[in-house]
């Protein structure tokens, strides 16, 4: 049910129904102050006025939650896709990310982005290299991150004209050259090898229906690998740390962004209830993920003793549907009206805490618009995308209805999404976003669209 909107503004703090948890400073605090605790303290003080309704964020409902200003954020995103001033020079090698971040965020806000199809096609075409893959810009080297962002952007605008830009055969060769003897993927030829590479490569392979056999010239063949996913799950398993979280590569510090990449990758190479427990210590991982959420802020942090940041709404928040699927397995009898536990505790994390943080602290409600890390930071396309993805994920429940019979038939797990209706709904129903697939982070029908197109293509 939509929460009633109060027009009283910021003055009547006491009028809002805000649980104590999101109003009070933490109950257990150490006396010893260090840089980390001082920064944490500052962040709490920075967020509290936004959470309490002391900061003027326009009308709030009786839960003290401001509206999601969709038009303002859409305007911001449209501008980010338009001509950019020279100050964006540093973004020269990462422009495809801007396409993805903006198009994905606009889609979540309910905008039809097919309008951008021609422009996108003409922009990315010269960024594709004849030797396979897409670069950050013309004349640059192909990179897994920019290729991933480009493929997702093409899927978002949809249509054959967009899909046909991709040269799948050279892509196959190029991906083969990135696959390493230890099972992982380099981001670019000669580039770094990390969990992002594993995730980006598996998404690309899955959406483009790339043959799973490695090309003959792949360096991984020397180590006995014959397929793209051979040894990949084990390599990801090595990235779990003593804390339970996942690091960029083996033996580094656990980090939220890599946790999502690891789970996403594992959910592609097989159904999550099989592949995730097979390669990771699931209980330790769940505990670590859960401890990323802080109160009173409500948002997630990326590492132990680091600060909340809106983008982890996706990197950590987006892990939950995959974790739930790996705990519960396929829900064959699942119907949309199926009963879930009655309290908010039916979720492994506090959805309302996250929603509070996002709507109160992550919206830039100035003329600029867009979403941000925290109130003291500027909004940008990256945070807009991942904050909104996290919001959508908190507002919906994704259930894996049936699992593939054969691990190699990618994308055949059946996922079903329903609005999350348990417990108290603290946001206005108008602010419920569109849905985004828990593995591909684009709407399900967009992922299906591109995959079906290539699944029907015989050979390259």
């Amino acid at each position: 049910m939509a929460a009633a909107i109060s027009q009283t503004g910021a003055a009547q703090t006491s009028a809002y129904d805000i649980p104590e948890l999101f109003r009070m400073r933490p109950v257990v605090v150490d006396a010893l102050e260090t840089d980390s605790s001082a920064m944490q303290q500052d962040t709490i003080e920075e967020c509290l006025p936004f959470l309490l309704g002391e900061e003027d964020l326009g009308p709030r409902n009786n839960h003290g939650i401001p509206l999601l200003d969709k038009q303002r954020h859409l305007n911001f995103l449209r501008k980010q896709l338009g001509p950019l001033p020279g100050a964006f020079m540093a973004a020269d090698p990462s422009r495809p990310w801007f396409f993805y971040w903006c198009l994905a965020a606009m889609t979540l806000l309910g905008e039809d982005v097919a309008f951008y199809r021609n422009k996108l096609v003409e922009t990315v075409r010269p960024m594709q290299n004849a030797t396979g893959g897409f670069a950050g810009g013309q004349g640059q080297m192909s990179h897994l991150a920019t290729t991933y962002a480009t493929i997702l952007s093409l899927a978002l605008v949809g249509g054959e004209a967009a899909y046909d830009v991709v040269d799948r055969k050279s892509m196959w060769h190029w991906l083969g050259s990135l696959k390493q003897p230890d099972g992982g993927f380099q981001m670019a030829i000669g580039g770094e090898e990390d969990v992002r590479g594993a995730y980006c490569a598996s998404v690309i392979i899955s959406l483009l229906n790339i043959p799973l056999d490695l090309p003959a010239e792949s360096p991984a063949r020397a180590a006995g690998h014959s397929g793209f996913f051979s040894g990949l799950g084990d390599w990801i398993g090595q990235c779990q740390t003593y804390e339970g979280g996942i690091s960029a590569k083996p033996s580094v510090e656990a980090h939220g962004a890599y946790a999502f990449c690891a789970l996403g990758c594992l959910s592609i190479i097989d159904s999550p209830h099989r592949s995730i427990p097979r390669h990771l210590d699931l209980p330790r991982l769940i505990s670590w993920l859960s401890s990323r959420q802080y109160a009173p802020e409500g948002g997630f942090s990326g590492r132990t003793n680091k600060l909340v940041d809106g983008c982890y709404s996706h990197w950590v928040g987006g892990c939950w549907p995959l974790i739930e699927a790996s705990i519960s397995g396929p829900q064959e009898g699942f119907a949309a009206e199926a009963v879930t536990p009655a309290t908010e505790a039916g979720s492994l994390f506090s959805r309302n805490g996250l929603i509070r943080y996002i709507l109160c602290c992550c919206q830039d409600l100035s003329k600029r618009g867009g979403m941000r890390d925290k109130p003291s930071k500027n909004s940008d396309a990256y945070h807009s995308c991942y904050v909104l993805s996290g919001l959508s994920s908190a507002q919906h429940k994704w259930t894996m209805k049936s699992a593939r019979l054969d691990a190699t038939v990618l994308g055949s797990d059946e996922w079903v999404v329903t609005p999350y209706l348990e417990g108290q709904q603290i946001f206005s129903e108008d602010d419920r976003l569109a849905t985004t697939h828990p593995v591909y982070v684009i709407p399900q029908h967009k992922a299906d669209g591109i995959r079906d197109y290539f699944a029907n293509k015989a050979g390259f």
Binding site: G86, G190, S290, R303
Partner: protein, 507 residues
């Protein structure tokens, strides 16, 4: 006899139609132009009915001779003689200054017409200097081409002169027109490179208005990359691009290739890289580049124990310098782990240096993570490639005890610090010990649980007590701990604690 009036040769003969304001010394260029217009077009702008017969004659004659003096009509010899007679007699102006003459604006948007005469003259001198320099510059190119055809090259001094010349031209251009000359065209070394500019459709998405100097550098970079050229001048182009945009991953990979092909001394490259790293703390391409350099360099010195030690020391020193500024920099810590493994820095000093960072901030989780790596991946006291979450029987008991003691001390210092609790759990895993072995220690942070006067000074201790109870099969105690966490001590994780309780029931 009165002295004969000698016509002044130097002074101007003021025409009869000159107004006083046309004869005073002009202050600005615009004023001078206006005077010239007035003097060369008698009575312009005046109502013809107001003119006297003489004035009217001058006026109409001026207009009559115009087509002739401008050469639009050619006359016979006789007629021309007649023409000049009239012109001289009436002192008619022959040259006509065009009306509405636009001097244009300078680089600051200032009207050149508002310049003083002196200022204009200075500008003209600069323009002339620029023209002369470009003449020499063209000559240089010509000479060089000629030399090339004969299989020769110009002397370095000639090239250096040209370099200076182009720099001066660039400075003049900036001074005169505010135009920035891109950097690479100022150096004749790059003359034979045909840059490949980026060609984007007008309506390209997120099209960036690259500053000219960046666009130039990128177009040269692209040209040499396409040509697969790996020469010192290419190295300089990469340096130039990196100085503007260190996030440009392609330029780094290309730079590494050049270093390999030219077999350049790695210590020099590292020294250069230090400077770049200090100026770009958040950039991670730098650290991948550094790792590539080390991978490439290490085999060359692997047999020289002293050289390896020296390198290890200088690398750790530099890493420490960066971490002092940015204590949790993910890529720097990651690099540190790489070099520990590669250069075998499993030393007391390394442990000590990590320890110092934990002393500075006991909540620095990156430092704790590094410690875990140093202790439990040291090949002399651990199983190769053992998973961080698994029991490793090869780790000596003394090490386990040392780590447990160290961690407990740090927990006592700051009980609600998750870094040290996570570390404690990690050590117990490695030791193959259960959580219940630390139950006694953890209990001191959670007193009178579920009773009057309940006091919890660490929610992490309570979580450990819960896990210890799960281990020992004490579901009741575990439920109590989880419930207390959910209700009071860590309620943001209520969903998780409830899930743990629901798992107890399943068992």
């Amino acid at each position: 006899m009165p002295p004969k009036k000698v016509p002044q040769k130097t002074g101007k003969l003021d025409p009869v139609w000159a107004k006083p304001e046309d004869l005073k010394k002009p202050e600005t260029v615009g004023e001078r132009t206006q005077q010239r217009i007035n003097l060369s077009t008698p009575y312009h702008g005046k109502d013809l009915n107001d003119l006297t017969a003489d004035e009217l004659k001058i006026y109409s004659h001026t207009n009559l001779i115009k087509p002739i003096s401008e050469g639009k009509i050619s006359l016979s010899v006789k007629a021309e003689r007649e023409f000049w007679k009239v012109v001289n007699k009436e002192k008619l102006p022959i040259r006509h200054v065009r009306d509405n003459y636009d001097w244009g604006k300078d680089k600051n948007g200032k009207d050149i017409a508002s310049y003083t005469i002196e200022e204009l003259n200075q500008r003209k001198v600069k323009q002339a200097r620029y023209r002369a320099l470009s003449l020499f510059s063209r000559q240089f190119v010509h000479l060089r081409d000629q030399a090339k055809r004969q299989g020769a090259e110009l002397a370095e001094t000639q090239i250096e002169d040209e370099r200076k010349r182009r720099r001066e031209m660039a400075a003049l251009k900036k001074d005169l027109y505010g135009e920035l000359t891109a950097k690479l065209v100022q150096d004749p070394v790059y003359d034979d490179i045909i840059p490949i500019p980026m060609e984007e459709p007008e309506n390209a998405l997120a099209r960036i208005a690259y500053p000219d100097f960046y666009a130039e550098a990128i177009s040269y970079l692209r040209a040499v990359m396409v040509a697969e050229e790996y020469t010192p001048r290419c190295l300089r182009i990469t340096e130039h691009v990196i100085s503007m945009n260190p996030a440009h991953y392609t330029v780094w990979l290309y730079r590494f290739k050049i270093i390999q092909v030219l077999d350049l001394p790695i210590p020099d490259e590292i020294e250069w890289l230090n400077e770049v790293a200090l100026n770009n703390l958040k950039n991670y391409q730098i650290w991948h580049h550094r790792q590539l350099l080390l991978d490439y360099y290490y085999p060359k010195i692997a047999d020289d124990e002293d050289a390896v030690k020296k390198l290890a020391k200088s690398e750790i020193d530099f890493v420490n310098q960066i971490l002092a500024e940015d204590t949790k920099n993910y890529h720097v810590w990651s690099y540190r782990q790489d070099i520990v493994a590669k250069l075998g820095i499993w030393t007391v000093a390394e442990l000590g240096s990590t320890q110092n960072m934990i002393e500075d901030d006991v909540r620095n989780n990156s430092a704790w993570s590094h410690r875990f790596y140093l202790v439990f991946s040291d090949p002399s006291q651990s199983t190769k490639d053992a998973s961080p979450t698994e029991h490793d029987p090869k780790v000596p008991e003394s090490i386990i005890e040392r780590e447990l003691k160290y961690t407990r001390d740090k927990i006592l210092l700051s009980p609600q610090n998750q870094s040290s609790w996570n570390y404690l759990r990690g050590v117990l895993r490695k030791a193959g010990r259960g959580m219940s072995t630390e139950e006694g220690f953890a209990s001191q942070f959670a007193e009178c649980l579920g009773e009057e006067g309940e006091k919890v000074t660490s929610s992490h201790a309570l979580e450990m007590l819960a896990d210890a109870s799960v281990e020992t099969g004490d579901a009741e105690k575990a439920t109590l701990c989880f419930t207390r966490l959910a209700k009071t001590w860590d309620p943001i994780r209520e969903g998780y604690w409830q899930y743990r309780i629901s798992q107890l029931k399943e068992q």
